[in-house]
Symmetry: D2
Subunit: 359 residues, 4 copies
């Protein structure tokens, strides 16, 4: 690039630039490379947070910080080291560890931001979503799509920790968020095994005649571990039988979907689950958009732009846009995965490249 | 209507009409009322076929008629009395009782016509759809969408009967059908409890990463009674708890759907299931398009254009377009239901009216 | 085919068949070939109607038959010779020549059936669609989508003839039609050059902010010859310049579309226009579904299943489902074309094959 | 809000917060209000840039800054005063004045970012989009959707200025952008009156048979002033005749759309045009998402959150998310308008409120 366009530094030019500044203007020719890079070049960096670091800090917060109105949630956001200390795990996504002690109530509120919870261990909390109490147990994915009232309460004798995922950074950056306070405590203290949403919707291929209108987000708001586990198990068994069921060799995968459309559970967040056989690896790839993974069980590693990071249960890592990633399983290896892919696809910015070995 | 337009019968007019005939022409003004009625006025008539009549005739066919290539299926079509003896249950739909003796094979073929089977009683047959053996048991709905190879074989010691539903009349009338012969006998004699399709797809809200392309018809081709029954039971329990879950008071209902889209299982045929509490009745309504119901269990009645027909298990009835219908349950009352509603909706001809009591 | 299934004719079999008849049943095995042919085999036949035959009969009707309430329209339907004298040009489509004398009024009505008019010659009639008077001139395509009130009146000093296309056979066969009488005479006698619909919508790529809801049928109801001619001319000029603009070499083509969706103008009827250079021919093809063409100008021929039919201005021909067709231009050759393709595509029955020379 | 959750400042808490920092964590409870405000509260501020300020600075740039490879474009970005000096007119949108002297060439490149140009005055530049030269004249809207090569050259004897709109800030923030350099000079020096795209697509309701696949962005890339002006004129005439054609009383409006879908011209940017009669005003409203307007002709004002800003031809203003806006026309008043509304709608964050008078 010859930069033919960069003019000589003269008093006249400096006067022009001063005029720009005064008039709230800023020329493109001094900043093209930064504004319009050859490929996505995120300020966010690949990073791994260790569960063995996260959990003690969450526990200590449980001792020191009350939960209640104002702060709303005892949630500790993962702050991407490249994003200046903001609690953004990526430019679009928020990921936090939330911690709730026995008997505690996280007050009800609602917001435009889409949210989910994923439970890496523990049980005993119910989240009440628009009046429907939803049990939270190990391996479950629970949704609170935008503008649904929700609060949580812990009815067990042990504290509970889980991760929250939201589109807070996207929402903040693009000025789309509304927020409303609800009841100080959850409005229904029942602790049913299954939520009303599940009782209506968690039947494969069956849709209630009372619910024929498609919805923006999934009306099924609890995806139970027993189903997830069963579906992944079957994919690997089918692969054993020679059927084309897995995503790639030794790599089972599924996407959580809205049963009214077959599409993503929420308009901005994709949720998926991966299971690799011991010794297997996923195909190396780059995607436009950012992803966050949490190891649900097993041991292995991830290669992020060619750098290996060992992983253990509970560890969380972020893959910024266009950073290559590949999962490698030492033992059987289960990972929960969420991303901003629906944003990319709906705006037609999505691109994926499969990468041959860097060696 | 004053029929201002009907001209006097003169030799000149007769000559004109003769000219029309010779030139393969036919004036609108002599036939408007028939061609364009004020509301749908079907040649098809409401009719009930009794299971106690159907089953013995099917059994007798099992004794007298071999099953094999050419005739292809031992299927006995319900012929709407208004449609001139054609084996059409309605102008768009085909409904037949199929009967297969122990050890028999119905040879493989495929066709553009969309098909399903619903099992009112019995078990022991597997239908092999594109190489995937699918068990057929009581209460199950099994799909063979257009252009999938399929054959059936009975591995039990008892004969089995079920109903087939297809869009044969629509296909024949509109000249859309292709047909291809396959193997003389089913290509896979395995009798697995669950088909590959179920193992991949029958997990609520979970979609395999290997199957992200939407499909025209449902890739889940077996809808098991245990799920159907469970979903209906939950709707009535939720109603008991004051939740808005049923279709109308005492009337649970669900639609079988394509999990890739949340829409109908096939492009031309809708499949649904109704359960009424003892003493309940459905709302009286008229719809554009035709429907067929089979009583799965229980006793009750249907009002068709105000005429009551008593119903018992296995009985089948047809509701032609714009005929009013209302279900009435004497005992708990379960009915399978299929219709051409997807045709009507996709072409924007659908209309439904809820009718107040005719009295 | 060995017809393994056809049983021996015995008294027992005859008793069974008698039992079927009494119970309104009809076995599949005696009729498979007819019900489910190897490929679409229409009762409708390819046929050409000559304008030189049609126009005199229409004129004679103008002398002998009044126009008015009851018969509604002085429309003479083309009756496919294969369809038993019914005024069906194909199993799905209606095509009629309509004739209106100076000063005559065709009364207002509305119906579910979708309709259009195409003007092969003449002018002087306005059709009033939901109160919006629409001029009808040579080469124009005018829509009256389902359930819009419409009437016509001739304000000129000459009679006018045009063709009507509707989905009457489809509507009649599938029992979807509603009909309602309106005013005895058109409700607005104005004769504006452009309809309100055109003034709002006939601006390329521009959509009124007052009309952001998509509509089932095109809100633009008049497609003027000057635009059609211009678009076709440009395609051939671009082809001359080496640009990929034509449908095939020497064959320009366009589809009339709903500007709110870019899709077909009505849910059941596709309208297109073809222009071939002198000496050019279209690719030989077969399609599922039926088509009707009218020569707008020029001379040439059509090959229908390999049989050549010479064509002149105004001639109309029908192509039943899966009959091969190829246009051949002697002079520059313009043809209007309508079909039931939207039905086939929406129900996923569409198939097209391009055929190599039969020789 | 009682802020029940804010814990007392103790050494233990400070140790915890230090632990958070070290582990790249950041608690939600200290920042909820900022991250999740009650309604969108943009850092961007409402602002007006005056054409009488912009044009002289652009002209001076023409004298001092060469145009060429590296800087790529002599484009001067409008920098929202609330966004820290970045050349972002809003958090999602870029708006710049581009200036090209006689004989100059802006080199070819392509990028994921979607772009358009709108010409407030002048002519003589052709933009070459994927090899198709597109004339730029007063009042025209010209598209270069993502990943199309494009360059510009001025063949006139006068410089020319216009505005560019892009989704650069959105693209930069969400890490979606790719960029590729093309030819140093435009690849086709022809200066046709109409582009190939227009010759194929600028025919109302007519779609080429060679282009039946829908496209993400509009294949019609030039929207000419004569059509825009005509469509707006007709809306006001129809209003005069009592027809429901305008957006609100005295306020005509239209949206530029993709003719293959009827939807927005590009996946991230909406383009519209408003015309108000002298003395008319638009309805006061708030929208989620940001908008930019340029006065094309006439004089009037805009109320932004209740503050009146007088406006003259060429003036540009930005409306950040949830800021109320109302146009007021002194003379007949024409404004070009672009926004990020497609982003908001596709992600279901869109909301609009019509506001009663603040007084």
């Amino acid at each position: 690039m010859d930069n033919a366009m960069q003019p000589e530094d003269t008093p006249e030019l400096r006067a022009l630039y001063k005029g720009f500044e005064k008039a709230h203007l800023n020329p493109l020719w001094t900043q093209t490379g930064n504004l319009m890079p050859l490929h996505p070049t995120s300020d966010a960096v690949p990073h791994v947070w260790r569960w063995k670091d996260l959990l003690p800090l969450a526990e200590r917060s449980g001792e020191l910080v009350p939960v209640g109105r104002g702060g709303e949630r005892r949630a500790i956001g993962l702050a991407n080291p490249g994003l200046g200390g903001k609690a953004y795990v990526s430019p679009t996504l928020w990921c936090a560890v939330q911690y709730l002690c026995p008997g505690e109530n996280a007050p009800e509120h609602r917001h435009s931001q889409n949210a989910f919870r994923f439970v890496v261990e523990g049980e005993g909390v119910w989240t009440v979503v628009n009046g429907d109490p939803v049990r939270m147990s190990r391996g479950d994915l629970l949704l609170t799509p935008g503008w649904n009232f929700h609060g949580h309460h812990n009815v067990a004798t042990e504290p509970m920790a889980w991760i929250d995922g939201l589109d807070i950074p996207f929402s903040r950056q693009n000025d789309v968020g509304f927020f409303e306070f609800g009841a100080e405590r959850v409005t229904d203290n029942a602790t049913p095994r299954f939520s009303q949403g599940e009782r209506l919707w968690a039947h494969p291929g069956l849709r209630p005649l009372s619910r024929l209108e498609d919805t923006v987000s999934s009306p099924l708001a609890a995806f139970r571990w027993e189903h997830t586990d069963h579906a992944l198990t079957e994919q690997l068994l089918l692969e054993d039988e020679g059927q084309p069921a897995t995503y790639s060799m030794g790599h089972a995968g599924l996407r959580f979907v809205n049963p009214t459309t077959g599409g993503d559970v929420m308009p901005t967040i994709r949720c998926q689950f991966h299971r690799l056989r011991a010794g297997a690896q996923s195909r190396k790839r780059r995607d436009v958009g950012s992803s966050v993974f949490q190891v649900f069980s097993g041991r292995g590693a991830v290669l992020l732009d060619g750098v290996e990071h060992k992983l253990d249960t509970g560890d969380i890592f972020v893959v910024p846009s266009w950073v290559s990633w590949q999962l490698q399983a030492e033992t059987g290896f289960d990972l929960f995965h969420f991303s901003d892919a629906p944003i990319m696809e709906r705006l037609h910015f999505d691109r994926t490249t499969f990468v041959e070995d860097d060696a």
